[in-house]
Structures are given as C-alpha cells and as structure tokens.
Amino acid sequence: MKKYTAAAAAIVLAAVTACGADGSDGAGDDGTLTLGFAQVGAESGWRTANTESIQQAAEEAGIDLQFSDAQQKQENQIRSIRSYIQQDVDVIAFSPVVETGWDAVLLEAQRADIPVILTDRAIDSEDDSLYETFLGSDFVEEGRKAGRWLVDNSDGPTNVVELQGTTGAAPAIDRKEGFEEAVSGSSDIEVIATQDGDFTRSGGKEVMEAFLNSHDDIDVVYAHNDDMGLGAIEAIRAAGLEPGEDIRIITVDAVRAGMEALAEGEINFIVECNPLLGEQLMELVEQVAAGEEVTKRIEVEETTFTQEEAEAALPDRQY
C-alpha cells in the first residue's frame, strides 16, 4: 500500500514539474492569423494579468493564439519559439527571460520569414533587424514620474530611502536612474540610503526595518515595486509610525494590493507599470503580418495614481 501511495505521489510531483508543453496544432491557412506567444512564466500577479490580457485580446481580435509558459527558463522559451517556427505561425511574440543569447533562434525565425515582436522586456543584440518591434514599458520614465511627483509635492528638506529591485534587473537599474534624474534638480531632496529589497514583501520589510533603526529622519520611501512598498508599510507600522502620514511612500506597478493600500492612504503615489498590453500587441501583430513597417520601440500606455484616483479606479481594476 505504501508503495502505491509513493508511486502516486511521484506521478503528481512529476506532473507538477512537467507542465508548460507547447501547443501541437499546426497553423491553419484559413485566413485567420496565428500568433505564437512564449511567456516568461507566472511569477507574479503582474505577469498573470499580462497573460490574461494577451489571451483575451487575441480572442477578441480573432487571432489564433498558441501560448506557452517557459517557467523562467531560457531553454524552454527557445524550444517553444522553435516549435512555432516549425508550425509556421504568422507572427511570434515573446517576453525574453534574459537579455542575451537570442541571436541564433531569432535568425531561424528570420530565415523562415516569420516576424518577431518583443513584449515587456528587451533583448541585448547588435542586430536589431532580428525583431520587428519592442512593445514594453519605459522603466526610466516610470522612475522619472515618481521623482517628479515628489519634487512637486514636497517643501523643505526631504530625506528619501530607496528600496531597490533585485540588483542587476533592468527595472531596478532604470527606475533608480529615472528617479535620481528627476530629483537631481531639487536641492532639498536627498536619497540617504538605498538597498536591495529583491522585489519581495519580506525583502522590503526587512530592509525598511534596518533603515528605520539606522536613520531617524526618513521622510519618504521610494520602492521599485508595490510588494516592497507593502513590506515597508508593515515595518513602519511596527516602528510605531503611521505609513502614508509620518513617512510617505511612493511605489511603481499598481497591482491590486498596492492600489488598495493607496486608496486606504497607506501609500501616497503609485506609478503604473501596465501589464495590459494585449490590445496593443494584437494591433501590432496585424500590422506586421500585413507587412507594414512599425517603429522599433513602442511604449505601453501608462498612467499614475494618487490616493483619490486609486479609489475611483479600484472597482474597475482587472488585476
């Protein structure tokens, strides 16, 4: 009996690790467009919203979507792109897991005459003819928006602590750069400490606790994503201070939990990083499939939220 249970458990475990298989249907030639999309994974609420947006927009646009989930691994993503090439889909789109190592597989796509669109993340390649366009957020601009709001909404000396995203990640580098650029004009605003909070709540909380103990003059927290900001809120409250009042908080992303904290007054300002790029992507797919020229860099439409705007936007928020 014990053995059977063990065998059953082994099968379950194997099934857990082995999902993410590629779609097997070939592309039909009945006039409908086929899009092969290789997603990074399902690592966050942001990514899930991104996936749902793409699936929904494809359905609405009448585009046949072949979808695969790479589970954060480049080799999985390359494998699914190869299978899309074999299926001879009309357009391939993907969010690259990492920046480098795409030249070979993209060259294969080019030879097969299949246009490629990058979404959300860029690749690092000298040959930009390998893809048609890159549709994604401008992380530097997101940092600038956060900085500009602070410049407009502070008088007197303001000490900022920064919770960075994972060291080396593109959003972390760019959001830091944009923010510094925007506040550099103001002599009152000073970033007094900056540390890696790893884009997680635990990380944000732990770093913020250390900041609160080593600096007693913190006015503003700038977190590179909502989750770290939510962690910081817990740390601020544990220190006996009022988040949003005693220490103001600015974050980037605008996922639901962050928006709720914003509406409740615990966060002061959120810069949106919009995962809902499905519709824009489908328009691009139709354009490149028709052979139209598109610009190499297209930015996702993004906005910012104050506390009042968050309250108004929350009921219709999809993620």
């Binding site: 399902a42 990514r47 080396g168 709540r201 635990s202 080593s214 544990a238």
Partner: protein
C-alpha cells in the same frame, strides 16, 4: 578556560565574527544596540535580527539533526513555501487561522514523511531524494496559490511571524524548539543514537539501534520545522509568495549548521553552534542594510565574512595556531582538538 583553549574552541571564530559585526554596526550607528520598550514590546535592531533570523534558526535546528545522521535536506525552502501557501489560501477562502496552521503543518509532516521514506526506506542519497521536493515543491506551492501572491488579513495569523509577547513570538518559538531539542537529545541517549547512525548506519543497526526509524524521524522533524518557519515568513508579511518565500533558506540553514561546527560527514552535532551560526548569518544581512554596503557589493561582503569564518575555523588553520603556540610538552593536543 585559558586563552589557548578558548582560541581553539570550535565556536571561538563564529562568536568573534558575531561580536565584530555588532561592533561594526555600533560604530556606524551608535544607537544600534539600543533596545526600548514600545507598546509593551521590545523594539530595536537586535530584536529585528532575532526575529528575522527566527525562521533560519528553526530550519537550521531541523537541519542539524538531519546532517548529524549524515543526511541533508534541500527541500526545506520549498516546504516553507508550501506551508505559507496552504495556510494563506485556506484563510483567504474563509477558513480560520487555527485550521490553516494545522493544515499547513499536516502537509509539511507528509512532505517530511516523503523525504524520510525516500532516504530511509528506498535508500536514495539524501541530496538527490530531497532535491526532488526542492524543485517540485515550489511548483506545488504555486499550484496551491495559482501563481498569485495571496494576501490575507487575519490578526491571529499575523501573530506567528510579527506578534509579540514582550519578545517576538517567532523568536520564542524558535528558541523553545532549540531548547526542547537540546533537552530531548542531550538529556537522553537519543542524541547519541542520532550521531551513531551518522557515523555508521549499518553498525548502529547491528548494535540494535533502529537506524531507519531515527533517519525517518529526523526528516519528518526537519519538514515540521520548515513548515513552522514558512508560517513565520508568510505571516510576517501577511502574504504567501510561492516564488520567493524561503528561497535559498536551505543554503542559509546549512551554512548556519556548518559554521556552528556540525560536520557534514555526520556523526556529531552542536545545537549551540547552530544558534551562533544562524545569528551570524542574520546579523550579516542586517549589517549590509544598516551600514549601507552598496547593493552590488553586498554579496561579496557576505562571502568574504563567511569565507573568513570558515577558513579560521578549519582544522588546518587551528593546527597552525596550535603549532605556533606549542610551547608546552603536549604535542598531541592540537590533533585531539581537531578530532573533537
């Protein structure tokens, strides 16, 4: 204890590192050691170090016993993620905190049974047996949470990781388990039996020790410790993050055990050492944040400290110290200490 013996004590260098880190922090921020009572709970950097180190300490206690049997458990981080995922999903769907905790810990005991079964009954090498769950477990946690970060708002659940009874509850739990295990294994013959299994399972079996039961039990215990630690981690931030909760905590726990002087070859263990090891690791992390080491240099800073401690602790180095100070007529002394 004379200075020479003190220097050769296996915990001398880890404790020295700990003191050095605390001094470094105090120099950079004079109020570092300050602890004040705020709303009936202690508040300060030292309290934060203890509280944030509690999950690592708890997992390291379980890991110490596993390693003492010449095993290793790589799956603890994934098990911690599963515990948080199960508990938060249950609470989010309207369940009570108490049931959530029981469910989560039940799941972790099952996972510990699974690991123990692979190692003790099927005889699979521990590093491989637990690797299965290390990779698959995080996937299972993501299945439970459907890939989302589950946020919960339950005051009772929040107590596990962030609550206080003057001291943080998480610290009390971890220290309680540490003391309990110390009393149970060192107060009875159990600790010696665990060590004998680590030295030679077959010989122990022939001598009448139930090797299989002991090995199985330590994996279940490690799973349970990981489960409680997972609850602390998720309750601390009121959320279950299947991707990141307890990520790489198995490495921290193994490091804590090794810094504490427990041999990976099995056969001996030191719970006091594990406590010191866990404190060194957490203090190191807090130091990086407090004294403002640049984030891109943080990992190098940590690595340098860990390497320094391990080098100073190594038998060869202590031999060098022994040889240099060997003035008396007892030449065999240094070998004795390295073997102890």
């Amino acid at each position: 204890m004379r200075p020479r013996q003190l220097l050769r004590h296996h915990l001398f260098w880890p404790i020295a590192a700990l003191v050095l880190l605390l001094v470094l922090n105090t120099v950079s921020n004079p109020s570092f050691l300050e602890i004040r009572l705020q709303n009936g709970q202690l508040y300060g950097s030292l309290v934060d170090i203890l509280r944030n180190g509690a999950p690592t300490l708890l997992i390291a206690v379980g890991m110490t016993l596993v390693i003492a049997t010449r095993g290793i458990d790589l799956s603890v981080g994934a098990v911690a993620a599963i515990a948080g995922a199960v508990a938060c999903t249950w609470i989010a769907s309207g369940g009570s905190a108490a049931t959530a905790v029981l469910l989560a810990l039940g799941a972790c005991v099952l996972l510990g049974l699974w690991n123990g079964f692979l190692v003790s009954v099927l005889g699979i090498q521990p590093i491989i047996a637990t690797l299965v769950l290390m990779t698959a477990g995080r996937g299972a946690a993501m299945l439970v949470t459907e890939g989302q970060i589950i946020t919960v708002d339950d005051p009772l659940y929040h107590q596990i990781g962030a609550g206080f009874l003057v001291l943080p509850i998480a610290v009390l739990v971890s220290l309680g388990v540490l003391v309990g295990v110390a009393l149970l294994t060192r107060g009875t013959a159990l600790g010696m039996l665990v060590e004998s299994v680590g030295v030679n399972p077959r010989a122990s079996l022939l001598a009448g020790v139930r090797s299989r039961t002991i090995i199985w039990t330590v994996y279940v215990f490690a799973g349970l410790c990981a489960g409680v630690a997972g609850l602390m981690i998720s309750s601390n931030v009121n959320a279950a993050d299947a991707n990141n909760a307890g990520l790489w905590i198995e490495m921290d726990a193994i490091l804590a055990v090794v810094i504490g002087g427990t041999s990976l070859a099995g056969g001996r263990y030191s719970l006091a050492g594990t406590l010191v090891g866990a404190l060194v690791i957490q203090t190191l992390t807090t130091t990086v944040y407090s004294i403002g080491v640049a984030p891109n240099a943080a990992l190098v800073f940590k690595a340098v400290v860990v390497i320094a401690v391990c080098l100073l602790q190594s038998p060869r180095t202590s031999q060098v110290f022994g040889v240099r100070r060997k003035a008396g007529p007892r030449p065999s002394r240094s070998e004795e200490v390295t073997a102890a």
